[in-house]
């Protein structure tokens, strides 16, 4: 499944790029990221916990950054698997700056398998977009933060961050009703 979009971040491109390749920043920005350990140059092992409310899934996986051309481009490759299924994806990020605003254009391909693919068809695209939006919103906060300042406290959305995944699910569990 293709996903693409554009996000505008009110922060300088160099700052944004630096944030984008900083594992501690990534750990805070990737929705539901519970662990991000470096395993090689620009390669990390990750634990992602995604979900909303009761709907949760834990994924073990890898994040790798490739094709790095600061401050304008890199490619991120992610894979993960867990009880509800697996996901993998790769996306190109292109950064341009205009009047102090960094425009990130992303285009990627996400594949989902297992239960989430079999039962969450209608949600996946939306969920992927939601995850991307959460990621960039968090990233903007990071990039705006003073370099020396402590990292911003997790914004409110973090509680919901996991929902990128739950998103997938929604339709899923969901039967025709919408009850609960």
């Amino acid at each position: 499944m293709k996903i693409e979009g554009t996000h505008e971040l009110r922060a300088a491109r160099a700052r944004v790029y630096a944030a984008l390749v900083d594992p501690s920043v990534l750990a805070r920005c990737i929705p539901g990221c519970e662990r991000l350990e470096q395993t090689g140059e620009h390669a990390y092992a990750a634990t992602l916990r995604a979900g909303v409310g009761a709907i949760k899934g834990v994924f073990q996986g890898n994040v790798r950054l490739e094709d790095m051309r600061p401050p304008e481009h890199y490619r991120i490759v992610v894979d993960g698997k867990g009880q509800p299924g697996f996901l993998k994806g790769a996306g190109d990020l292109d950064l341009t700056e205009r009047d102090g605003v960094t425009v990130i254009k992303y285009a990627g391909d996400v594949q989902v398998g297992g239960t989430i693919a079999g039962v969450g068809q209608r949600m996946i695209q939306g969920a992927a977009k939601m995850m991307a939006a959460q990621f960039f919103t968090a990233l903007e906060a990071e990039a705006q933060a003073a370099p020396d300042a402590p990292p911003p406290s997790p914004p409110n959305f973090f509680r919901f961050a996991l929902s990128w995944f739950s998103g997938l699910l929604r339709r899923t569990f969901q039967r025709r009703p919408e009850t609960d």
């Binding site: 709907i55 969901q174 609960d180």
Partner: protein, 284 residues
């Protein structure tokens, strides 16, 4: 088909439920009608460790008129709303919407509060609640607060409810003038969920539209009010052309859902057609 294990408690009161939820906000889940949660649990996509069953709190199921408002308990079932003769008189949108949800078995069990708290982007209630400009009352161990419907739906499956909060009541302002309302939905052939659902609530004076609210569901990641449509109609006579022109704004500045059944383009088109038809039905 078989859920993972969990603990189960039946609180004696809403306060007790809120206290239990506050203890384990990440692990506990409120069980209302169960028709969103249990299917998710059967697929093991949801594996809460504790279910707090509030379905036995009978004082959460009611339809009352109070202080110029219609007050609906969160545990009121879709069927209770669908079959209320009083609602058909004073707020026909609610029974009209309820009648389109799932099937009779679902409506017998599913609750308006459960559905709203789950915030499925294809659920029917959010459209109606938005069109009625309702307020939602959330309760928690820290007390109670009121959330406007327009602030309630945050994103796909995501509401403004904080962890630890339980949706307790839905409050619908009762219009002074006779409200004209309609809910129109295209159901998905397999799931019965809305492909597009449009709720309309309007009043007319002297043959012009005095007020109008249009809520759309299943069009985007969350239900929303079609402000562009509303603006194009207030103060105008609701003739065919005016309605059609206004309906063209149904999805202004909205990113559309797409799925196997309907592309984004088609969904946009359906949203416009159903908006026009729903307004026409309400005004007629």
């Amino acid at each position: 088909m078989i859920p993972a294990q969990f603990d189960y408690v039946v609180p004696a009161s809403l306060a007790e439920a809120a206290a239990l939820l506050a203890e384990r906000p990440d692990e506990a889940k409120i069980l209302a009608g169960g028709h969103s949660l249990i299917p998710a649990m059967k697929l093991r996509l949801a594996q809460p460790q504790l279910l707090i069953d509030i379905s036995r709190l009978k004082d959460l199921a009611y339809i009352r008129e109070e202080g110029g408002q219609l007050r609906i308990g969160a545990m009121t079932t879709h069927y209770a709303l669908e079959s209320s003769a009083r609602l058909r008189e004073i707020c026909p949108l609610l029974p009209a919407c309820a009648a389109t949800i799932g099937d009779v078995q679902v409506r017998n069990c599913g609750t308006i509060g459960g559905s709203l708290a789950h915030a499925d982007p294809a659920a029917d209630w959010p459209a109606a609640i938005l069109a009625l400009d309702a307020e939602l009352v959330a309760t928690s161990a820290n007390g109670e607060r009121t959330i406007r419907a327009t602030d309630f739906f945050v994103d796909m499956l995501t509401t403004a409810l904080e962890p630890g909060e339980i949706l307790r009541e839905i409050r619908v302002p009762l219009a002074q003038a006779r409200a004209q309302q309609a809910y129109l939905k295209l159901p998905h052939p397999a799931s019965g969920f809305a492909v597009v659902g449009v709720a309309v609530n309007l009043t007319q004076q002297n043959n012009t539209c005095a007020s109008i609210a249009v809520g759309l569901t299943s069009v985007a990641a969350k239900a929303f009010r079609a402000g562009g449509v509303e603006q194009a109609l207030v103060g105008r006579a609701l003739d065919e052309q005016t309605i059609a022109a206004a309906a063209a704004h149904a999805t202004d500045s909205v990113e559309l859902n797409e799925d196997l059944f309907a592309s984004a383009d088609y969904r946009r088109h359906l949203a416009q057609v159903y908006t026009r038809r729903a307004i026409t039905a309400a005004a007629g």
